[in-house]
Symmetry: C2
Subunit: 223 residues, 2 copies
DNA sequence: CGCATTCTTGACCCAACTCAATATAAGTGG
DNA sequence: CCACTTATATTGAGTTGGGTCAAGAATGCG
């Protein structure tokens, strides 16, 4: 069970859906669906009948190589959309990182989507462009940053997205962080410990709660 | 000047704009603009007044770190759109890899774009989703593939996008490939030579024309 | 033809990986 | 609530793929 954290999913939702104009009900397939930790929301190759908006919890999108190497393209948190992709089938797998609540939307084809609800579309296009922006930023991280810089960037981005000042509860485990940052769990662990020793962060209980002790230093490392 | 290659920009354009329905003229800012090799189409931080469609040539989008480390997010070729981003300013720099011809489109805000030309929007949304797909695929490459696998993936993707069977003229130099694949020029060079020795590819003239001698082998490496 | 780019090759190095062992936390059933 | 089990995280020792530094070799432009 999670301890109570400073992060409030509900606050994040209302903040993010402000631009939506409350017209999104028309395409909803169901009020919401729950997924237990570790379960699959949809799988790579499955027909992309739905896309989703996160209500609470964290979703990861995963790609696998034939030999098991794994890349986590992104994490999706309350207010984020995921699963809207080009083509008839999903190109990634989406899994619940912890207990997750999502709202499914029926995709149909893009053309009819456009006619059905222009206000929703505007929000969706914006969300897709935000996702693309994050992807570009992440390519810089994966292609050109050191382990320490990757970890700093990751923590700062997470803090910004969760809208927390300095107490950050990580929903995902080290292996997820590793597969997101293009590192191994050992390197993630060593890098986190190195940050603790350098006074950049502090760790709580099981290492899942991070206190950003030196935001300026982290910012400098990440950029 | 380029030698005549098997790649036909015009064929690519007509193939890709089939879904567009020829209604895109309404938002065009100008018939077309030319950019010389190495020049900037737009810079990071500049207001994103326009986005573009490539007519001929190749465009790269670039991100820089303060110390000069460079990441090339993507290459854009005839028929591809680039420069449509979230927010008021460009988050990447776009440069001409060779002699380039583009059509600029006035962005305005997304809402009015939506009303102005639904057919264009549909094509644009699709193009953005394609770009996102490529970004996800590229993250797997950057996060988890070896130098040899990266090079194989890169060549196969380029061949597919240029719609060539096995003679591929690379528009970009080694340093561009390196900064796209998260490697150094030396490693790119060594990897290419290794592929030649292994009989996977053959090199022509200056090393800019690649013959895919063993597509099956390359495919196996890339996937 | 000559100069500047671009590309290749070699020798050496190091950041991150692999393999291996604990250590710590989180369940789970009695 | 506690013993037992399993999952997750940390730490250490040794290795390596790709980086760095430094020459050369092509290529091609003016």
């Amino acid at each position: 069970m999670h301890t109570v954290s400073t992060y409030s999913p509900d606050a994040a939702i209302s903040a993010r859906s402000a631009s939506l104009g409350r017209s999104d009900a028309s395409l909803r397939a169901a009020p919401q669906r729950a997924f237990a930790k570790g379960t699959e929301v949809f799988g790579e190759g499955e027909p992309s009948t739905f896309f989703y908006k996160v209500v609470s919890g964290t979703v990861r999108t995963v790609k696998l190589l034939s030999d098991g190497r794994r890349q986590i393209d992104g994490f999706y948190m309350p207010g984020d959309w995921f699963g809207l992709e080009n083509g008839q089938s999903h190109r990634v797998t989406a899994e619940a990182v912890d207990q997750v609540l999502v709202i499914p939307y029926r995709r149909g084809d893009l053309g009819s989507l456009l006619k059905a609800d222009p206000a929703l579309i505007e929000a969706l296009v914006e969300s897709t462009l935000v996702n693309l922006d994050r992807a570009h930023e992440h390519m810089m991280l994966l292609g050109r940053k050191t382990a320490l810089e990757r970890m700093a960037s990751f923590l700062m981005e997470l803090a910004a997205r969760m809208d927390v000042r300095d107490r950050l509860r990580l929903p995902m485990q080290r292996s997820d962080i590793a597969d997101h940052l293009g590192l191994t769990i050992e390197t993630v662990s060593r890098t986190v410990m190195q940050m603790v020793r350098a006074g950049l962060i502090k760790l709580d209980d099981s290492g899942r709660t991070v206190i950003l002790a030196d935001r300026k230093g982290l910012e400098l490392l990440g950029a």
